[in-house]
Subunit: 591 residues, 2 copies
């Protein structure tokens, strides 16, 4: 087993220890479930009207520690449906699960902590894996408590959920807790407000973020970057309306399969129009505007397309979970022969992009069809799916990339690669997706004329390197703790006069730099120089250019970095060359 | 009277001559109205079930010529309501108008052509002015016939409308007709299709244009240009969602006064959301995010905001009249003292913009309040309106601009300046608007803390230099007949190999230029060189770079302009410098 699997087993066992402790402290408790998750574990339970609060954590943690100190064995085995039903006769949730196991034609498995004669003894329906002994849980902590609907369905009963985490060493736990604290300090909602990046305004609507000047400067920089990069890779860009007629989404199938995520239609002169939840249908229509031959392929059609999708208000979260967002979207239409090369190019583009925004850690997940389920009978052909899956995997291998292989996790319309970035706190987020779409080309009757003069469906690679500018921005803000590199910084340099005698010179310097399309401001407010420096530092502006009489005389600027470091006096020309160089090369370092 | 007024009188008289002729040919005809318009005149009439077609024009024109040749006097006079009612007793439309005149407490005026003893005699309810004699109409032509609802209301009867034009000389008429023909040849819908600029796709919806790759390249270039230009002028940009909660449009008053132009609301979790018809309300909310002091002003907040407004499907027209469009919008919040300077800056920005896109002819119209109507009682203060009107006018005068003074044409929320550009065919279109808004600051409770520590409403200049990217683009396409200058051309240069031996070199040249963020393609299709040149010329690509063995050997390109002119062989470095220079300086000339 690899390290990640070991960690999962450790955390899963910590969760069982939590259950054992809770059962002792609250005999009425009915456990529902409790899996390990990316950063720890959680446990859902039903305690009727009694509710747990973080104040109870010390008591629970002390109980857990006793179980760990008791060095109890953790053992698993398979049992019969009948035995399981008897064992968990007083827990309706477990009985439901047992019924599901029976329906799937499988046998229940259980895990025990300790033995019936120990002071602490617990038995739970569980597939494991676990550690062999509770003593292996060297470091753990309970973190928070929340409500959670049974099976995530708001029509079901509201349960309680305790989150916790566990590590093989207390050093690692300590580091993790420090990261959490930092993450909270630098969370994107807090920084978004502090730095004037975005706002959620109640009168406009929940989940409908407004990009404020500093945020929009970054968004625009990213769009321009992507546009230029994609152009060099042969992409052309379109822009399609935010509303479209019903027939478009009937054809695409969204009204059959995706209606719950779409907003209600608007009537315009007896026709129904919908806000678009995806850019694909309009993209297909643009492809269809003329007859295409194999000579015209590949066609790479990009769009910075804003889509609107319904999310429950309770699930909205800053920029991470919103109701309207913009995708850096593209559809690549190609022949079977071109598929491999085009996938390689997408992966190369992705690497360039991740490098330029400074993401070092990211991982790939390849979602393939379930050979038993024969998903490709829904759309596409067996050969099409086989080729697509083979080539998606082969491009990952060819590029020497580690990836998780998720068999049976393909979506109904095709296999895909998802890319998750991992930020400095270990927090992960889905950033990019590369999918093969077998559905839309068939539904829209998309074809090209092949070498033999026959009509053929092209392969359609649907890729979004920035799946959502909003979500990506949330990640980016936290990744940089708001201290963006020069090329992304909303204000790249702030000119600060030593006294108001130097105001004119400060304005002149700012103007010179602005002429070069740099984002520069001069602070000629009434504040003191010290206050201006503090403010610029708070705003995490990369360079402060302090200008006094000496600088004015020498046509120079005194450079101070946002870290507080002084770089001394530089001729204005020299500083201009440095900042432009940093900007153009997307240098992540300020000096 | 100035030249334009003379032309209007001439055309208005030509319309009366048309009526006289029609009355003779179709005794059942009931004229409704017939004004001069920008490019000629039209006449609305009711002929019951008989319909006029262009086939009837020669006959009507011959009759009109007879009236002109008869050199009949045209005379006007005031009469009483009673006399007028008797004169037009058999024409219900005229009787309606007479009632309106009576209601307004005015006297009707009539104009006569000839006298009752002439072969041709006509009397019409009309305020004039007219020419003195029909002989002054030296050149005229009927152009088209269309349907038109009485008073423009679709619940009223459908009338017929004949369009025509008239000029003081046949040379001018000939030129105008040639212009019309050219305009038809180069109309933006035709060129939009031919050059792959935009498309209206029925499945997406009427009035909802899709920007195709070549059109989007221009749109993006314009956006970037505006963003950078506005930044240099101190603007900062935001981006607000396309849907917003009902409360926003209740506060702004749009739901009271603008509802007919808005789409039906969507329900989201028991709240109503509307597609935004204007960007202003969200802009006001952004201003309100923090307390502002006079020290923070002026605040210039720009947005490339896409709005959706209802237009009847019958009134939709290419990119000119659409249901969804993007504005280059901005709100300038300033103190009374700053107003004049900010208005000057807006005018200067506008001049830079018009120069850079190559518009030479444009005119200003200043819409002021009606001193009798006291519009400012609706919102704003008397002093506010006075200052705003005085300063709007003074900035036009200061800059030495000719302008039309439209007293009583201010909108309810404030006075404004509209700018119309005139294209090569004399066709005019509203491009820009600069308005003072007294309404929204009050409705949203927008204020700043003034020097004395009191709350005060700022002046809000609402300006859109590109009132609609869509409409502007329609104008731009026709202005350039699709042959855009280098900085706007979707493809700036096409590399064309002499034979397929030179394909590699062609690709290498294209790549080199693309590295500089130029929009360049290499045509390595199977077509002949001649066919490729023809195609590039059809696409109006500024430069064709022909590359054969000689060019490959010398690392050069042979430059051909889209006019067909050959500029000979140039080292690639030298051509690169030229095209970049043309691009950056927005040179309208190719060589």
């Amino acid at each position: 087993m690899n390290k990640q699997k070991d960690l999962e087993a450790l955390r899963h066992s910590a969760e069982h220890v939590l259950h054992t402790a809770m059962q002792k402290l609250y005999p009425n408790l009915r456990k529902v479930m409790g899996p390990p998750i990316e950063t720890g574990f959680y446990m859902d339970f039903d305690l009727e009207r009694q509710s747990i609060s973080p104040d109870d954590f010390p008591k629970i943690e002390a109980e857990m520690q006793k179980i760990i100190d008791a060095r109890l064995p953790v053992t698993g085995k398979e049992i019969t449906i009948k035995d399981a039903a008897e064992l968990f006769a007083d827990n309706q949730y477990k009985l439901n699960t047992i019924k599901e196991i029976e329906k799937a034609g499988e046998n229940p498995e259980i895990y025990e902590i300790g033995t019936p004669k120990d002071e602490y003894y617990d038995i739970d329906l569980c597939k494991g894996p676990h550690v062999k002994n509770t003593k292996e849980i060297k470091a753990f902590k309970l973190l928070s408590v929340a409500g959670a609907y049974y099976k995530g369905d708001e029509n079901n009963k509201m349960l309680q959920r305790i989150y916790g985490t566990a590590f093989p060493t207390s050093k690692e736990l300590k580091e993790h807790l420090k990261n959490l604290e930092e993450a909270e300090k630098y969370n994107h909602r807090k920084l978004g407000k502090q730095l004037g990046l975005f706002a959620i305004i109640p009168e406009i609507g929940k989940g409908l973020p407004v990009w404020l000047p500093n945020g929009y400067a970054i968004r625009r920089e990213l769009e321009d970057y992507m546009l230029k990069l994609e152009r060099k890779h042969g992409y052309k860009h379109i822009l399609t309306p935010h509303i479209s007629k019903e027939i478009l989404f009937k054809t695409s199938g969204h009204l059959d399969f995706y209606k719950d995520s779409m907003y209600a239609p608007m009537q315009i002169e007896d026709e129904s129009y919908y806000l678009k939840p995806m850019n694909c249908p309009a993209g297909m229509m643009v492809y269809k505007l003329g007859i295409k031959s194999y000579r015209n392929l590949p066609i790479k059609m990009g769009e910075f397309g804003t889509v609107y999708r319904y999310e429950k208000s309770g699930e909205l979260h800053g920029l991470q979970r919103v109701r309207g967002f913009t995708q850096n979207d593209a559809h690549i239409f190609c022949t079977p022969k071109q598929l491999q090369k085009e996938l390689e190019k997408v992966i190369d583009l992705l690497h360039t992009f991740y490098k330029d925004v400074g993401f070092e850690k990211y991982k790939f997940r390849l979602s393939l069809s379930d050979p038993k389920a024969e998903k490709y009978t829904f759309c596409g052909s067996r050969e099409g799916w086989k080729q697509a899956e083979k080539e998606l995997e082969s491009v990952l291998q060819k590029r020497g990339l580690e990836y998780e292989r998720a068999v049976g996790k393909a979506v109904f319309y095709g296999p895909k690669i998802d890319v998750q970035a991992i930020n400095v706190y270990g927090k992960e987020d889905s950033i990019s997706t590369i999918q093969i779409d077998f559905n839309l080309p068939e539904r829209f009757g998309i074809y090209y004329i092949d070498e033999k003069g026959n009509k053929a469906h092209p392969f359609v690679i649907h890729r979004a390197l920035i799946g959502s500018f909003e979500r990506f921005f949330a990640f980016l803000i936290e990744h940089y703790k708001g201290a963006f590199p020069v090329w992304l910084a909303p204000i790249q340099a702030q000119v600060i006069p030593v006294s108001d005698k130097n105001n004119e010179y400060a304005l002149e310097i700012a103007k010179k730099l602005m002429e070069k399309d740099l984002r520069v401001e001069a602070d000629i407010s009434d504040n003191t120089m010290q206050a201006k420096i503090r403010e610029a530092q708070m705003q995490k502006i990369p360079y402060m250019l302090i200008v006094g009489d000496k600088e004015e005389k020498n046509q120079s600027v005194s450079v101070r970095l946002r870290s507080g470091e002084n770089k001394g006096s530089l001729p204005i020309k020299e500083f201009t060359d440095i900042i432009i160089q940093k900007y153009l090369t997307k240098d992540l370092q300020l000096w």
